[in-house]
């Protein structure tokens, strides 16, 4: 079964989004949906569960159907060898060393060819997510269809040989979509910038009552009287958790606070376990630092943790888009974050948060925020509005529909 059945129980999503962003902000989305009546959208990716893309698709597909644009979601079938190849593609596009052999190329095409025969792809507007199903365009493109490739990966350090394998395939699309300008490679097709978005209705972002928060946070045993400084991210060197501790220790000479480093368990990731050990060694036996290992489905706990923190930190050395920033801003939190990747789009310095570039800079920003409740409040209010207008799901859905409307109009003009 390649088609994903998206749950449509409960109240309409559109009502929830209307409450979050306002009636007026949804009108252009509804207008675009009217413009695309009579068209059908097909989304394709490589998994129905796990990962940010699947999470977004569960919502977008339902939302677009509620708007009256029939939309289906198909998952590309593959096997272990194919997934090993696409894992290599994924990692090397992110800048890790690695290569693909000629037989890898051939197998990638072979699986895409088989998938092209298996999938329905019964829409005229086709949105392909990420590299795994990118090759479908070579085998199933039909007249009248518009194909768009949505790349969720940071390609700024992509391994040239691997990208040169993918680039001609992407060149067969009508357009490509990237999250951030720095991720856009040289291409022969129009490239659009569509930042990713968060779901204000999800467990990670919905409002929580005080009782709910207390219940969720009690197992962590965090001090109630001290302000919390929190970084939520996996234990990975590029997230610089050791740097966060160093900045905290500098700040701690003057301010009273408690540091929380919350991230997923590193059991299945040898490097993650190594980093976690380094973090534990750096924290030593200090009672003002908590290292919280959370299961992958601890969305509500993360939500409560962010909401109860005085300062949310993201001291990454390198980032894709870092939607944890938008999550914190949506909760009106004061944020101190590195000026890397997509973070400066979310943190407008001194307006929606503070941008930092070093350990001393991070310490100074933490201190400034902890000392000034007014500044925290002002940044938090601005930050929430910034996210409301720019980084929620309805805006992302609107951008996809606008790209399709643009392609349809261009085709109609050519035909006329």
């Amino acid at each position: 079964m390649t088609r994903v059945e998206v749950r449509a129980d409960g109240p309409p999503l559109i009502d929830g989004y209307r409450a979050a962003v306002g009636d007026m902000a949804l009108r252009s989305l509804e207008g675009l949906a009217r413009r695309l009546r009579g068209h059908r959208v097909v989304m394709v990716n490589s998994t129905a569960t796990g990962g940010g893309v699947a999470e977004i698709l569960h919502r977008l597909v339902r939302l677009m159907n509620e708007l009256g644009v029939p939309t289906t979601w198909e998952v590309m079938p593959g096997d272990a060898r194919f997934y090993a190849i696409t894992k290599t593609i994924h990692n090397t596009l992110h800048g890790w060393p690695g290569t693909l052999s000629a037989s890898d190329h051939e197998y990638f095409h072979e699986v895409n060819r088989r998938a092209a025969a298996a999938l329905a792809l019964d829409g005229d507007l086709v949105l392909i997510h990420d590299p795994q199903p990118a090759g479908l365009v070579l085998h199933r493109r039909e007249p009248g269809q518009h194909w768009v490739w949505r790349c969720h990966i940071d390609l700024s350090s992509a391994e040239p040989d691997v990208w040169s394998f993918l680039a001609p395939i992407v060149g067969r699309y009508d357009a490509a979509v990237f999250s951030h300008i720095s991720f856009v490679p040289s291409l022969d097709v129009p490239a659009y910038l569509v930042p990713p978005s968060i779901d204000p209705l999800s467990e990670k972002n919905r409002e929580l009552s005080d009782d709910e928060m207390e219940g969720l946070l009690a197992p962590l045993g965090l001090p109630a009287r001290r302000p919390w400084v929190t970084q939520v991210s996996r234990f990975d060197r590029i997230k610089d958790p050791v740097g966060v501790i160093e900045a905290f220790l500098v700040m701690r000479r003057r301010e009273d606070a408690h540091l929380v480093l919350a991230g997923g368990s590193a059991d299945d990731d040898p490097e993650g376990a190594e980093v976690l050990a380094e973090v534990r060694a750096k924290a030593g036996s200090r009672s003002d630092i908590t290292i919280a290992l959370l299961p992958p489905d601890a969305h509500l706990t993360i939500n409560a943790l962010q909401r109860r923190s005085s300062v949310v930190v993201q001291k990454s050395l390198r980032e894709g888009f870092a939607l944890t920033i938008s999550e914190a801003l949506w909760k009106r939190r004061a944020v101190a974050a590195s000026a890397v990747g997509g973070i400066p789009l979310q943190v407008l310095h001194d307006r929606t948060g503070l941008l930092v570039r070093s350990v001393p800079g991070c310490a100074a920003a933490m201190t400034r925020l902890l000392r000034s409740p007014d500044l925290r409040r002002r940044l938090g209010i601005e930050g929430r509005e910034h996210v409301r207008h720019n980084f929620l799901h309805p805006r992302e859905a609107r951008d996809y529909l606008a790209i399709f409307a643009r392609l349809v109009s261009a085709a109609e003009s050519r035909a006329a």
């Binding site: 209307r18 409450a19 979050a20 962003v21 306002g22 009636d23 007026m24 902000a25 009108r27 252009s28 207008g31 675009l32 009217r34 413009r35 300008i181 720095s182 856009v184 129009p190 490239a191 659009y192 910038l193 000026a339 310095h349 509005e385 910034h386 409301r388 207008h389 720019n390 609107r398 951008d399 606008a402 790209i403 409307a405 643009r406 109009s409």
Partner: protein
């Protein structure tokens, strides 16, 4: 100006324009080459990014020059150029090039961004979105504007006149329908620098006040029953406005 007026909204699709600048000289060269849509995006599209804010936002170039290149004086000159000489793409380009030209050529090449913090020129493709409102008189148009999103206000009051040159087609159409004062008031509001949400609120308040006078005059000659119906409709309209969830 003959015929009905179709109220449109717009979505901006952002694309790389192909140029990058690492120092003021490269910024100058990029601005000299930039398409009008690129100039428009970096200088004038800000109201749509935070439509609820009345705080004047700097354009992208002066923000970059101030924050990244850390040349406050040039940033001021660029911001001034955008605020005062952005009536058209040519005028804006000339003003920006003058501001950058005031920096000696050698200094322009030295005043640079750190690696990885270059300015990337972007451009926009505007995707028109019909609002469903095709107005035949001023009242219909104002009712349409009341229902339209802020992108529609932005499109008709800022984007369309900037690219076409001259006053907005919307206000010209209103003036041609006998609503010249209202048209002038809308144009004044558009020049005020207020945020889109405030602009919308102020224009609609003015429109409602204007309509109130003509309604009272019309009601003076109406029968008791007609007046009662009008009162009921007015109260219903008020309730609708109060209960509408435009602003969460």
């Amino acid at each position: 100006m003959d015929g009905p007026f179709e109220l449109m909204s717009v979505i901006h699709l952002v694309r790389p324009a192909g140029d990058r600048a690492g120092d003021l000289e490269a910024l100058r060269a990029g601005i000299a080459r930039a398409e009008p849509a690129t100039l428009f995006y970096h200088a004038l599209q800000h109201p749509l990014r935070r439509p609820d804010s009345d705080e004047a936002r700097d354009d992208d170039w002066s923000t970059w020059v101030r924050g990244v290149v850390q040349d406050g004086e040039t940033a001021e000159h660029l911001a001034y150029a955008v605020q005062h000489r952005a009536g058209s793409a040519d005028e804006l380009r000339e003003a920006l090039l003058e501001a950058l030209g005031a920096v000696p050529e050698k200094a322009r090449a030295v005043r640079a961004a750190p690696a990885g913090a270059e300015f990337t020129f972007l451009t926009v493709e505007s995707v028109p979105v019909p609002t469903g409102c095709v107005a035949h008189d001023a009242a219909e148009l104002m009712t349409g504007l009341e229902d339209a999103d802020l992108n529609a206000w932005f499109y008709h009051l800022f984007e369309q006149p900037w690219f076409a040159g001259g006053p907005p087609a919307l206000t010209q159409w209103l003036a041609a329908r006998g609503a010249a004062r209202l048209a002038r008031a809308i144009e004044d509001e558009a020049k005020s620098g207020r945020g889109l949400l405030t602009l919308r609120r102020r224009v609609l308040r003015r429109w409602r006040q204007r309509r109130l006078g003509s309604r009272i005059a019309a009601a003076a000659g109406a029968t008791e029953g007609d007046r009662r119906d009008t009162e009921r409709a007015a109260v219903a309209g008020l309730v609708r406005r109060i209960t509408r969830t435009d602003e969460p």
